[in-house]
């Protein structure tokens, strides 16, 4: 597998990433040693889903594969689940096409 395995349960694909992918169903409260940094999971993270490795402010870019995959829509704490409820795409926004003019 490409990338850095974190504490046996998370996958950080490049060093620039600020989220990691859960390699198992992980329970809230679990403490994870993220390359020397201690992160406590704030909620259950299902297999394949992402958790934040650092604090993100609203509107921050989310990095995975060393690339921007989303922008946060609210502040995100380290150890929080990062998904459609707090992050969104910046592409293909036909719904905003009229607004942006």
């Amino acid at each position: 597998m490409k990338g850095i395995v974190i504490d046996g349960v998370g996958l950080k694909l490049t060093t620039e990433d600020n989220v990691a992918t859960a390699l198992d169903d992980l329970e809230a409260g679990r403490s994870i040693d993220a390359e020397g940094l201690d992160i406590e999971l704030l909620e259950d993270i299902s297999f394949g889903h992402k958790f934040a490795l650092e604090a993100l402010a609203e509107g921050d870019e989310v990095y995975k594969y060393g690339e921007v995959i989303a922008r946060t829509t609210k502040p995100v704490e380290p150890g929080a689940w990062v998904h459609t409820h707090n992050a969104e795409s910046t592409r293909g926004r036909g719904d905003l096409a009229g607004v942006e003019q």
Binding site: M1, F47, S89, G92, D95
Partner: protein, 395 residues
């Protein structure tokens, strides 16, 4: 050591890995009769579709390109074109274009045959003859450089970008190293990753074309006045951990391995033999996308899935590559290669090698799970009036 397999060498020099008799309707009006006639034997492969008897010119041209490409695919030993007889697409003309490859092609008009029942009977007689002729072909030595391999993904989840797509990418690299062609497509799934692909393009012209096509797909969301998230990622993608189209795309392009992008062809346009990595501009809708690449001449498809897509194709065998361990466990009867072992520590190279071996075995004649179960989905991507009237989006 150069990899080899046994295939059917056709008159036009291309090599087939199957020896089907294709039963191709020119319109939806002939689809059910093509299906009915094909019940004669597993060797008869119908490609029923829903295109009308009279489409606008832009749509008709694309439909014809698909149908001719399917007939010309080297996996087809002989073909029967079935028409109602009132279509604007002429069966004789399509047959002529297919016959340029040197294979046996016949046509049948339902109206000339005297209706549904006599048409089905007559089609079966013609199909028996075509099969007899096609059956004379024998497998002979062929080189991996003669393979055109199509990569597809469907029912993606977070494992697709980590396990199954990188494994398919590694197999693509191996085939290209051996002198073959690998193709991947699904242009909407380049959105957010196009800059990476663009850097890999061999020249500026190709780079500009790629970026233009990606922009056109993105504009479709504007044309429909909606957020692309209404279609991408799908609910299953999201449940599997994919948050945005960018994230899905960055995982999706891993199917293309690491070699330079040598070209980009239209939907269902001929893919070159010995061409390295060549993109095709298709929708992300997997059945339509697979059909486009098979019409382009791909003999074999690797289809990665996280959630567990089970679809196949009538003309080219589809190898299902599972990236999610739960899917492999639960749906093993529909899956061919387990790439989820990458998550447990197998290297991408290891699994890519295993997949490449499977690909050559399937080329040699080994049946995929979809083939064993008769899963042969077929659909033509239709150019819609809105696209024609609009800015030329998606054409």
């Amino acid at each position: 050591m150069v990899s080899t397999f046994n295939g059917y060498r056709r008159a036009d020099g291309r090599v087939g890995i199957r020896n089907h008799v294709a039963v191709i309707p020119t319109s939806v009006a002939a689809s059910s009769i093509a299906r009915g006639a094909s019940e004669i034997g597993a060797w008869a492969k119908p490609t029923p579709h829903q295109m009308g008897t009279s489409q606008p010119a832009e749509a008709r041209e694309q439909t014809e390109r698909v149908l001719v490409g399917i007939g010309q695919n080297p996996n087809v030993g002989a073909a029967l074109i079935v028409e109602l007889g009132t279509e604007e697409s002429d069966a004789g003309e399509l047959a002529d274009r297919i016959a340029e490859t040197g294979k046996a092609v016949e046509t049948l008009s339902i109206r000339d045959a005297g209706g549904t029942r006599p048409a089905v009977e007559r089609a079966r007689e013609v199909l028996e003859d075509l099969n007899e002729e096609a059956s004379l072909a024998r497998r002979e030595d062929a080189d991996a450089s003669e393979l055109i391999f199509a990569a597809e993904c469907g029912g993606s989840d977070a494992t697709s970008g980590i396990a199954s797509n990188p494994a398919v990418g590694n197999a693509s690299d191996r085939l290209i190293e051996d002198g073959g062609t690998a193709s991947f497509s699904e242009t909407p799934e380049f959105i957010g990753a196009e800059h990476i692909l663009a850097e890999r393009c061999v020249d500026d012209e190709l780079r500009e074309r790629l970026l233009e096509r990606v922009a056109q797909r993105e504009e479709m969301a504007d044309m429909m006045g909606v957020d692309l998230r209404g279609a991408q990622p799908t609910p299953g993608n999201q449940e599997g951990g994919l948050t945005t189209i960018e994230e899905k795309s960055l995982g999706a392009i891993a199917k293309g391995g690491t070699t330079p992008v040598e070209g980009m062809v239209e939907y269902a346009e001929r893919l070159p033999t010995g061409g390295g990595l060549v993109l095709m501009d298709t929708p992300g809708y997997d059945v339509e996308s697979v059909v486009g690449k098979v019409a382009g001449g791909a003999q074999v498809v690797a289809f990665t899935t996280g959630r567990g897509s089970t679809t196949g194709n009538p003309i080219a065998p589809v190898i299902k590559v599972a990236g999610n361990p739960k899917t492999w466990e639960k749906m093993s009867n529909n899956m061919d290669v387990n790439a989820s072992t990458i998550i447990d520590g197998d290297s991408v190279e290891e699994v890519g090698g295993r997949l490449y071996d499977t690909l050559l075995s399937v080329a040699d004649g080994q049946h995929t799970e979809a083939e064993k179960r008769g899963l042969e989905e077929f659909a033509v991507n239709e150019v819609q009036p809105k696209q024609i009237a609009g800015s030329g989006v998606g054409r």
